[in-house]
């Protein structure tokens, strides 16, 4: 299957994304001993730098080099991939904002099956790939099976697969630009304009050692006051999960998660946060995680060191009082 297995490579400024090396270990779980071909789109020097980095792990790298590909536009890249991939190709793509933009439509245009957001690969038998997915915000898992003999697009959750180590031999870099472009670029009806950087907030939670992080369980905006009081008592900063920012109760700069900030505190106190993978994806550096949630099945208890099943509205004032007492 070596000539039908492909990995989509994310990269910025000449640096290959960590997911590139996670896709290899996912591929090895599908077909033991088989390494996929890396497919990378970009432009100029930063693309070459990324290709060189890839060739230490991938036996073969397909590069597509064009000024219009300097910033990845899923509508353009989808059309190019359809031209490049063989009919029974198996395309592995990281499941993040670009993969979500690209993969569903790619599966339709290449008439392939689509298996999204895979967290574990059980294996391939008689052309049937069996994987594990999560549903209901991570509360429940499912085994999913799919006939991939006529091709498939599979997206893989970032961080769910261990990245592989470098190999001893260097891979080949093949320039596939002419095969892909063939005179014109597809996808002209969506045009990239610019990137708008996140506004800087009043507190930089990425530098905090102690984070008191609050989620949906806080219920009302006015209840945030008690969270600020606890943070003050502990000497930490207040951060939050997505619903709090969606409700406009706290600034976006305080949101922890893949679509918000990546934090690396020493202590992370998660209050009323269910603990979706998007949220926990923003918590790095192995902090001591304490989770308080009234739902004993909340996924956060799987990634926490210490858990308490309680109503945070009852617990927070009492904890604040105790902390103040201990600190004198």
């Amino acid at each position: 299957m070596a000539d039908t297995l492909f990995a989509y490579i994310l990269h910025t400024d000449g640096k290959v994304d960590d997911t590139a090396f996670e896709l290899i270990s996912a591929a090895k779980k599908i077909v033991p001993g088989t390494l996929p071909t890396a497919v990378i789109f970009g432009s100029g020097g930063s693309l070459d730098t990324a290709c060189n980095q890839l060739s230490s792990q991938y036996p073969q790298v397909w590069k597509i080099d064009h000024p219009a590909l300097a910033y990845p536009n899923a509508e353009v890249i989808r059309g190019l991939l359809v031209r490049l991939l063989p009919e029974n190709g198996l395309m592995l793509i990281p499941h993040e904002h670009f993969g979500m933009d690209l993969a569903p439509g790619l599966s339709i245009k290449s008439d392939a099956a689509y298996i999204p957001d895979v967290v574990h690969i059980q294996g391939l038998q008689d052309g049937i790939l069996t994987v594990v997915r999560e549903e209901f915000n991570g509360q429940i898992s499912t085994h999913v099976a799919c006939d991939i003999s006529k091709g498939a697009v599979v997206t893989l959750r970032a961080g769910a697969f261990q990245p592989v180590e470098a190999r001893s031999e260097t891979g080949r870099i093949l320039d596939k630009t002419d095969t892909a472009i063939q005179g014109d670029l597809p996808g002209g009806n969506r045009r990239f304009l610019e990137l708008v950087e996140a506004p800087v907030g009043d507190v930089d939670i990425t530098k905090s050692d102690i984070l008191i992080s609050v989620g949906r369980g806080i219920e009302e905006e006015e209840n945030l006051e008690m969270v600020h009081a606890l943070a003050k008592a502990m000497g930490g900063d207040v951060s939050c999960s997505r619903p709090i920012v969606d409700a406009k109760w706290l600034e976006k700069s305080r949101q922890v998660g893949t679509s918000g900030q990546t934090v690396k505190p020493k202590v992370y106190l998660a209050l009323g946060i269910s603990g979706s993978f998007q949220h926990m994806g923003g918590v790095k550096g192995a902090p001591f995680v304490v989770a308080v949630n009234k739902n004993p099945k909340a996924p956060i208890f799987q990634s926490a060191d210490v858990g308490v099943v309680a109503d945070i509205l009852e617990l927070i004032p009492k904890l604040t009082e105790k902390v103040q007492e201990v600190k004198g």
């Binding site: 989808r78 993040e96 904002h97 979500m100 933009d101 569903p104 439509g105 599966s107 339709i108 099956a113 689509y114 999204p116 997915r133 209901f136 915000n137 509360q139 429940i140 898992s141 499912t142 085994h143 999913v144 099976a145 799919c146 969506r190 045009r191 304009l193 990137l195 708008v196 996140a198 050692d209 102690i210 949906r216 502990m234 997505r242 969606d246 976006k252 679509s259 918000g260 900030q261 990546t262 020493k266 202590v267 269910s274 995680v289 304490v290 739902n295 099945k297 208890f301 799987q302 926490a304 060191d305 210490v306 858990g307 309680a310 009852e314 009492k318 904890l319 105790k322 201990v326 600190k327």
Partner: protein, 263 residues
């Protein structure tokens, strides 16, 4: 602008502890609280706001069983003008591609400039919008968190990408967009609003009306099959603190102190 919004009735994960049934063939559905998928609700609000700015109509559509009618009615109470329910026993067990195909057939029987979906739903796939767009040969953008109507042919959309950054794109109409939460503040729907739309008719269309070959949808047409449901085993998990609330607070404070959580 003629806007179609695809919505789904789902168990509310914020309100429910989801459990697996005894033989692992489904989740326990008795006593579950159902609601409209949260992302879809933002999509409907956005459609209503666009209509109120530039004119047109908002139609909400759902593939589901009879119970999905209540979700459509709720979104009509928010301000959507029409509802369509795509309901047929042969649709049951469809995979994402099957659902997108059913929606495509309904889209082709109407005339729309803009289709909105939620960015994802209970199964977390986020696949319907992108598939539908590709089937229709319309452009697509996912995870949209701002929409600006430029003229009758083009709109400007912001996509939410990593680290709180936003990617701005111009996209031609007609197009499909998947909507991220936080794009707006969905209005509250009171019981009075629901009553106002209680007598409005919601047409139901099945495979015959839509011209869909039954074998192409449902479990029969699905390439991707769910084998079972199970509760993930994920190692040890947290050490759970137990006892009275005062005892828990005592232990918790000690732990926080020893781990450097008090400054």
């Amino acid at each position: 602008m003629e806007i179609l919004v695809c919505v789904k009735r789902v168990p509310d994960t914020a309100e429910n502890e989801i459990a697996v049934n005894r033989d692992g063939t489904d989740i326990e559905r008795n006593d579950l609280v159902y609601s409209v998928n949260e992302w879809d609700n933002y999509a409907v609000e956005e459609a209503i706001q666009i209509r109120d700015r530039v004119g047109g109509t908002v139609t909400v559509i759902s593939v589901g069983d009879e119970a999905s009618e209540e979700v459509l009615r709720r979104e009509m109470a928010m301000g959507a003008d029409k509802g369509i329910l795509l309901c047929d026993p042969v649709f049951e067990g469809s995979d994402g591609r099957g659902i997108a195909g059913i929606l495509k057939a309904a889209v082709e029987r109407g005339s729309y400039d803009l289709i909105l979906t939620g960015a994802q739903a209970d199964d977390g796939s986020g696949q319907i919008g992108g598939m539908l767009a590709a089937m229709l040969d319309w452009p697509y953008a996912s995870l949209v968190n701002t929409i600006e109507i430029l003229d009758g042919n083009r709109i400007k959309v912001g996509r939410e990408i990593a680290g709180g950054n936003q990617e701005m794109n111009e996209i031609d109409l007609p197009c499909v967009l998947s909507i991220q939460t936080g794009i707006n503040e969905p209005r509250y729907v009171g019981i009075r609003g629901i009553r106002k739309v209680a007598s409005m008719e919601i047409p139901v269309q099945g495979s015959a009306e839509l011209g869909i070959p039954p074998e192409s949808v449902g479990a029969a047409g699905a390439k991707v099959k769910r084998l079972d449901y199970f509760v993930p085993e994920m190692g040890q998990g947290a050490e759970m603190l137990e006892g009275s609330i005062d005892e828990i607070i005592e232990k918790l404070t000690e732990l926080l102190k020893s781990k450097g959580g008090l400054k």
